[in-house]
Symmetry: C2
């Protein structure tokens, strides 16, 4: 198979990398060097500082050595022999001890003069690796075995593909992704900032970024209300007791912030909103007529992230989740889950994410044997997983199953979105919960007057607002559709004699509810157009004598060279439609 062949190439190249490093730094200690998604790496303890400027020299050395290599020979050694071979390398000794404890054979692979402790998986012939299909990429620090209590090693990364063409394509994609990086665009387009004094992982939204956020939030809230959700507000803090009652505390305590003592009670920044919603549900007796009760909130949540993990809007310490909890009779579950997926597909579509291309579904299952991680109730798990499986069977979106990925209170459907680099990640989920209703003693009066226990569906329509906007920025490269664009129209007077007319136009557009800016700088019209294009404003209107005389507008659409002349009313009507229908 071609993939595993590619993996073999990548693995073989990591041997080659270690060989080159050892020729150049005989005192270096090689540790581990596996293949990865886009190539390979190898971790070394170096006797001296090695930097990115050394990469070309190492690459040259690798190209020199590869010519002398043919194939890989396998040797089986005793632990003593292996340790003797890697004397003074405590890392290899640790690995050898590990393999010996497992009872596995200790094998060494040799190519040319270079021998390495290895479980195998190489190319048949080094000639199978095409020239220019690989290159060293970068250097980073990495703790031995990923543990921050261990020594920091030097990791050298290489990229490797089957052909030069594929490598070039990958490099181009990386280049494009860098240009679209939401942190870079967020700064260039002045959408959000961070402040050292406020704190890491806590974005401050500028006027422009806030417009995007507000439009998105209002769209979601209005759409959810249209679909019968009760959109509510609950506090962002709660007593620790609440999370003990919900049973979240033991599972979440490491990602919760420390408690705040107020009078005699301890309060927590909430890591989730479900317990608040359940408390609201319980504020009065409920009847079967009120079910399903879809309780939704733009909920601000707080979860601990290590400072090194924080990244722009993608990993933050406080985020706003488009959250909801549907309290329902169990025979309503299937319809409600379908309803939640309908909403998710609709909103994803509006935001430009296409089913099967940009996202697919994952059915995340529990594990009946793991009572530690999952609530014990085999029958309930069987039933809930069956419901979710049935839902997915009847939908048009590709799906797959993953064992051991469920929440502790039930199975879930994860919406797996691909980012610009093609990496897939869980963006949001629909969860079936049969545990919380018990913990919170949720109840309703059935039609026969008896008290029954409902089930709960946890879902997010669009995930965390911060993360969704990061996705959006990267997807559209900052060129937002008109309904989200912070500035929809830019007025570009040709000369200073056209300023007054532009001022009047601006007021007119504002009165019609458009977001408009006027560029009255003393610059050429060419410069003004370039600037508006750089700001990724959907429509630039060039205003000179002709426009004033005709009452027409010279309209330049973002990304297009030609300028078309349009009656003002027609332009406004068309833009209004474009905004209303979120095109």
């Amino acid at each position: 198979m071609s993939t595993s062949n590619l993996e073999a190439k990548r693995h073989s190249l990591s041997h080659l990398l270690a060989a080159a490093v050892l020729e150049m730094w005989p005192q270096a200690k090689p540790t581990l060097g596996p293949p990865v998604d886009n190539g390979f790496y190898y971790d070394f303890e170096f006797p001296t500082v090695v930097s990115e400027s050394d990469l070309p020299k190492i690459q040259n050395k690798m190209e020199e050595i590869i010519k002398t290599w043919n194939t890989f020979a396998r040797f089986e050694l005793s632990p003593q022999e292996a340790k003797a071979e890697f004397k003074n390398n405590e890392y290899k000794h640790e690995l050898i001890n590990g393999i010996a404890t497992e009872g596995a054979p200790i094998t060494i692979y040799q190519s040319g003069q270079f021998r390495d402790l290895c479980r195998g998986g190489h190319v048949e012939k080094m000639k199978d690796i095409k020239a220019d299909s690989w290159k060293l990429e970068r250097i980073a620090g990495a703790y031995w075995r990923g543990d921050e209590n261990n020594k920091m090693l030097t990791r050298i990364y290489g990229l490797a593909f089957d052909t030069k063409k594929e490598l070039d394509e990958y490099l181009k994609m990386i280049e494009e992704a860098k240009k679209r990086d939401h942190r870079k665009l967020g700064k260039e387009l002045d959408l959000f900032v961070f402040s050292e004094l406020v704190g890491k992982g806590l974005p401050l939204w500028t006027e422009k970024g806030s417009i995007i956020r507000r439009e998105l939030e209002r769209f979601i809230v209005d759409e959810e209300i249209r679909r019968g959700y009760h959109h509510i507000y609950t506090p962002d803090i709660a007593k620790l007791d609440l999370y003990k009652t919900s049973g979240h505390y033991p599972y979440y305590k490491d990602s919760m912030y420390a408690p705040i003592k107020i009078d005699e009670d301890e309060f927590m920044l909430r890591p989730m909103s479900c317990p608040h919603h359940f408390e609201l549900y319980k504020s009065q007796p409920r009847s079967y007529r009120q079910l399903p009760m879809r309780i939704a909130e733009l909920a601000k949540l707080y979860r601990y992230e290590q400072s090194g993990e924080l990244s722009g809007l993608l990993r933050v310490r406080s985020f706003c989740l488009a959250d909801a909890h549907i309290v329902a009779r169990s025979d309503q579950a299937e319809a409600e889950i379908n309803g939640a997926l309908d909403l998710i597909e609709y909103i994803a579509g509006i935001l430009g994410f296409k089913a099967n291309k940009d996202y697919r579904y994952r059915l995340s299952l529990g594990d009946r044997t793991d009572d530690q991680k999952y609530y014990k109730d085999d029958a309930a798990w069987e039933h809930a997983e069956g419901v979710l499986r049935n839902v997915l069977k009847n939908r048009a979106v590709e799906n797959y199953e993953a064992a051991g990925e469920a929440a502790f209170y039930g199975p879930k459907i994860d919406i797996q979105i691909k980012n610009v680099l093609g990496k897939e990640d869980t963006a949001f989920t629909v969860q079936y919960d049969f545990v919380m209703p018990k913990r919170f003693k949720l109840a309703f009066t059935a039609s026969d007057g008896r008290e029954e226990e409902p089930i709960v569906i946890h879902r997010s329509s669009v995930g965390a607002i911060e993360r969704t906007i990061a996705f959006l920025i990267e997807r559209c490269g900052g060129a937002f559709p008109a309904w989200l664009a912070p500035v929809q129209i830019k007025l570009l007077p040709v000369g200073s004699t056209h300023h007054d007319y532009c001022q009047k136009l601006k007021t007119e557009f504002l009165d019609h509810g458009f977001r408009v800016e006027l560029d009255d700088a003393n610059e050429t019209i060419g410069n003004k157009i370039r600037k508006a294009e750089g700001e990724k404003i959907p429509y630039s209107l060039v205003i000179g004598d002709k426009e004033i005389a005709s009452n027409n507008l010279a309209v330049r659409k973002r990304g297009q060279k030609e300028i078309s002349s349009l009656p003002k009313e027609k332009f406004m009507a068309e833009l209004k439609q474009e905004i209303e229908y979120k095109k």
Copy 2:
């Protein structure tokens, strides 16, 4: 003057109360008994438990004694004589010591057989106090001298006015206020709830309450954006360092919650948003062209309130402030303050608060001699107070000045609103700040290229959302105008044969963006109307055979008995107008 005469009556009645109590409980120790806003009280240490059921007996005794009193005689005593007179009463001894230390004369007033330590201020003749113009009201606990380390005494309150008519009016007003109490109506109309598990002072907004809140918030945000504010989002927490930089920490630390340690830093739930806004301002260099920069936010804030002080939505531990900070050149200050007051008056008007009737302005000044409480810069205080005074001179709203009520960073204009009981309170403020710009090193490049320091205006357009909604509930008694009403239309089918038609009507109203409910219970139309009236829904539509045949609607407006017949389209058009213009 009539008011001070009323005060004399109230004071005289407190003597009468003490005389009655001592006749009934000779072992009781009277302490202090002043006149108050609506009557008088007296604090006693009782030898036994006294409860509200004792009030009629005390009142009877007072009515008996008053007949025997004529006027008040004054006696001046030495401290020794006074203490001998009040032997065994350590409270009076403490008062006597205090008066002696002041060097004031120690006076005793006597009426009938009753003598009390007193500075004077009684009626000429007890006959001036009209029968039935006063009555005992209630009993409460009160610490001696208001200090919780002291002994708890028993306080007896009485109401007293010039005439029986005024007393009756006051009692009626209290009765009405109780009916309008936002805590009571909030529960009856299901607008918000509290949960013991979530915590005190942390309201959870129901679906209905959330509609009111969302409509109000969107109205404010949209109106502020229309007036050139940048509406932003910033985090609700920040590093403690931020509040040390701002200088808020020493002034606010008692009302801030305890810090939360995250990694090496301490984070605070923010008690105000100014420092966040300044950090955003500072995220890039600013030019005079960008000023005034009006930075606004619906900012969630956290301030400590003692558990005993918490009250419904009026005193909470977390609230959402319609906040803004205007960074401006100092020559723009007057125009910006006027702009802020224009906005305040506009929004107050929409919410039904009338200038001079419901609110007036207070100019809160600093104190040049108090460097502890106020930032020392006499010239800056003079200038800022002058600007504010000038603004108020030219406005149509009544105003007065109050010394020593300023913020530590500058003087302010407080908007003083009267509640249902006529009590005046600061609802929101416009503050002139010349200190923060220095502390945060705020700057802008002036037109001549030099760096200058701006001033900052802190203002709230409508105060805390929670408190404003509490005011609103009490003002309209829960009968919200249509634009805020959680349900705008209730459909009342006369019989079950009309349900289908009502279902269709409901969908039609929903599609037009109205908030509508259908009452399909098996009840008489009279009951349904009464229920809709109890829920204070603006419009009830009675639907029977005639309406289905004619396509007309039988419209019953809230609070009106008559039902009028209207073509459906006309009703919708009129209601749309009513909502849009926030009538």
